[in-house]
């Protein structure tokens, strides 16, 4: 129930952010932030309630993991909005959160029922590995949202203090603000993803006797890690900032989505072997 209300409020928040972006009324912005914050609170409570009912942290499977992913996106975005007093990227970021939450909502009822953990998942490394992956992916989603907001802006990228958009596109965040959000999110998310992969490797060694087996899920986590490593290497090059950086961040989120939706489909359709089929 709590999760359902959180999802509904997330819809309202997205609509309010879009209205704020279009009309730039302060009360719309306040309403959007309030709705997003309330949605976050209900989602937190809903996940805690589910965890207590199931007897384990609610981060397993194709229902719980996307909910945790949504929670991470909301947490990181709301923290940045509060710190920087900038909510014009909210519509873009929360649409991504809505897509992820929508995926969770579309799961069949069998996936939604809380169930006890499989024996192989009964390990403290579950919390460490999945939580750090969720935080990393959440940060990448915020980066992609800021990237979407950066795409239409024409102001050139400048590492200077934030300033109003020169083209008068006041419904968008200034190019510098969007790029700051992209940069911050990428540098926040990458260590978390690295930690998730390392924790996963240690857990795999304890569970399966090998820390890396080129399982499709493992390989795709490496693909994502390499992609963001590539972005971090291109970032110092002036010609790869601005809109190009935004596009790279958006592609990165595409890879993240493929990893948690596409890889299970790939395993099934190509009849591959995978130890991550849970």
């Amino acid at each position: 129930m709590l999760i359902g209300w959180a999802y509904g409020l997330l819809w309202i928040a997205v609509l309010l952010y879009i209205a704020y972006t279009a009309l730039r009324r302060h009360w719309l912005g306040l309403g959007a932030t309030s709705a997003a914050t309330l949605s976050w609170g209900l989602l937190t409570a809903g996940l805690a309630d589910r965890g207590l009912a199931a007897g384990h942290w609610p981060m397993v499977g194709r229902y719980e993991f996307p909910l945790c992913f949504t929670w991470a996106i909301l947490t990181i975005y709301l923290a940045l909005e509060t710190a920087w007093h900038e909510r014009r990227a909210g519509a873009f970021v929360l649409v991504i959160a809505l897509v992820v939450a929508g995926y969770a909502a579309s799961r069949p009822s069998g996936d939604k029922n809380p169930s006890p953990l499989l024996p192989v998942l009964r390990s403290a490394w579950l919390q460490v590995h999945v939580l750090s992956a969720v935080i990393g992916y959440g940060a990448f989603a915020v980066a992609a949202g800021a990237g979407l907001a950066r795409l239409p802006a024409r102001a050139p990228s400048q590492a200077t203090a934030p300033s109003p958009d020169a083209e008068g596109r006041k419904w968008l965040p200034a190019a510098a603000d969007a790029e700051r959000m992209i940069e911050w999110s990428l540098t926040f998310g990458f260590p978390w993803l690295t930690f998730a992969i390392l924790a996963g490797a240690i857990w795999a060694q304890n569970a399966w006797g090998r820390y890396w087996g080129w399982d499709p899920k493992e390989t795709w986590s490496l693909v994502i890690w390499l992609w963001y490593l590539l972005i971090l290497h291109l970032r110092p090059i002036r010609s790869w900032r601005g809109r190009r950086l935004a596009i790279l961040a958006i592609i990165g989120l595409g890879l993240v989505f493929f990893s948690f939706i596409g890889v299970p489909w790939l395993v099934r359709s190509a009849q591959l072997e995978s130890l991550h089929g849970f």
Partner: protein, 384 residues
């Protein structure tokens, strides 16, 4: 004077050395050095490796136990031939059914390792200089070329200088000052050693790959199938055997399996040395061998165990290198080096120059805020 994919441009030497071969060899090695040291080239290699990994993940991979058994390997090959038809032989010859060991994947990975090494060798002096440089008196060029610059005019007194020092201290900078020919110099730094973290994390990545290499060449794994009460020898570990003393399934109230426990006795040179439990996620370790629970067969009271015995010398190095990499990454990202240099002339002109390794926007805001604060304090002092 040519470009390779826009990556490198060189200028031919004006003077030809006596030996033409020597000229081309030295030019060629310079070209390669510069190519491998370039960020764009490293990024290109990263892209190639990740694309190959993504493609390889879409193909079934030969399990290690199948690769070691010729008859099982032939059977497996027939199965993929049935699945992929005429493409199977092509994919097989390219090694894509074990892509992590194929030349197609290892070649760009090796180039990436070489690029990492050369890039580090190319940059380590500059990085160390930046981290360990304690020169306070700096040339004029610093105040003309830094990404953040400001100039303030003040009365020829030291109050502005003191105000600057206080503001920088409040912001967490460590200060060093000096005087040269009547001019005051100040160097304010935060996280001064942080640039070294880049060298550390590149080194850690190489260590990590070294651990993976150790694992690839010297690790072994052996599957054991042990009926109840029976003993099985571990052929990789001389004299070590395991006896199946029982298997327990603990269940949830819903009867779903909650955990599995295998009770085994380790036998060395025919003598039992210890008994222990092997659970999922909790392997049993004996000397350098670790024992894992893979599965079970049979019915209650007469379970046959499927265990995995393994030894991996690369794993500890992998974990240590991974931890070093993570810590140095966090230092590099979250404790970036920032430096503000100041020069005050006897006439009262104050020049400021600042740069930060990362978080450029945050530093830009901080620098602007510092200038605004200085101007505000100057106005207050002038008013009073």
């Amino acid at each position: 004077m040519y470009n390779i994919f826009g990556l490198v441009s060189i200028k031919a030497r004006r003077k030809m050395p006596a030996s033409r071969i020597g000229f081309w060899a030295s030019t060629g090695s310079r070209l390669l050095w510069r190519l491998f040291s370039q960020l764009k080239f490293a990024a290109l290699l990263l892209l190639v490796v990740l694309l190959l990994a993504a493609f390889g993940s879409s193909l079934p991979q030969i399990p290690p136990e199948v690769a070691e058994d010729a008859s099982r390997l032939a059977f497996w090959r027939e199965a993929v031939r049935g699945k992929y038809g005429p493409f199977a032989d092509l994919l097989w010859s390219l090694g894509l059914f074990r892509f992590s060991r194929s030349a197609l994947f290892l070649a760009p990975l090796a180039l990436l390792v070489v690029s990492t090494i050369l890039c580090t060798l190319n940059r380590w002096r500059g990085v160390c200089r930046r981290a360990l440089n304690r020169d306070v008196v700096c040339p004029e060029a610093v105040f003309e070329s830094s990404p953040h610059r400001a100039r303030l005019e003040a009365q020829a007194d030291t109050r502005l200088w003191q105000t600057l020092r206080e503001s920088l201290r409040e912001r967490g900078f460590r200060l060093r000052s000096a005087t040269s020919e009547g001019v005051l110099y100040l160097r304010a730094e935060r996280n001064g050693l942080s640039p070294l973290a880049t060298l550390v994390n590149h080194f850690a990545l190489l260590l990590l790959l070294a651990g993976a290499l150790l694992s690839g060449f010297w690790a072994w794994r052996e599957e054991l199938v042990i009926p109840p009460g029976e003993t099985a020898r571990i052929s990789h570990s001389q004299g070590l055997a395991l006896r199946n003393d029982g298997f327990t399934i603990r269940r949830y109230p819903s009867r779903a399996a909650a955990s599995y426990e295998a009770n085994v006795t380790l036998i060395e040179e025919g003598e039992p040395v210890r008994s222990g439990l092997i659970r999922l996620n909790m392997p049993l370790a004996h000397r350098y061998v670790r024992l894992y629970l893979r599965g079970y067969e049979g019915k209650e009271g007469a379970y046959t165990l499927r265990l995995l015995a393994g030894y991996d010398p690369g794993y500890p190095l992998f974990v240590i290198a991974g931890c070093i990499f993570l810590v140095s990454l966090c230092v590099s990202f979250f404790l970036p080096h920032a430096c503000i240099q100041a020069r005050m002339e006897p006439e009262g002109a104050l020049h400021l120059a600042g740069h930060a390794d990362r978080q450029a926007y945050a530093f830009a805001e901080e620098f602007a805020s510092l200038i605004a604060e200085l101007r505000q304090r100057m106005e207050k002092q002038d008013a009073s």
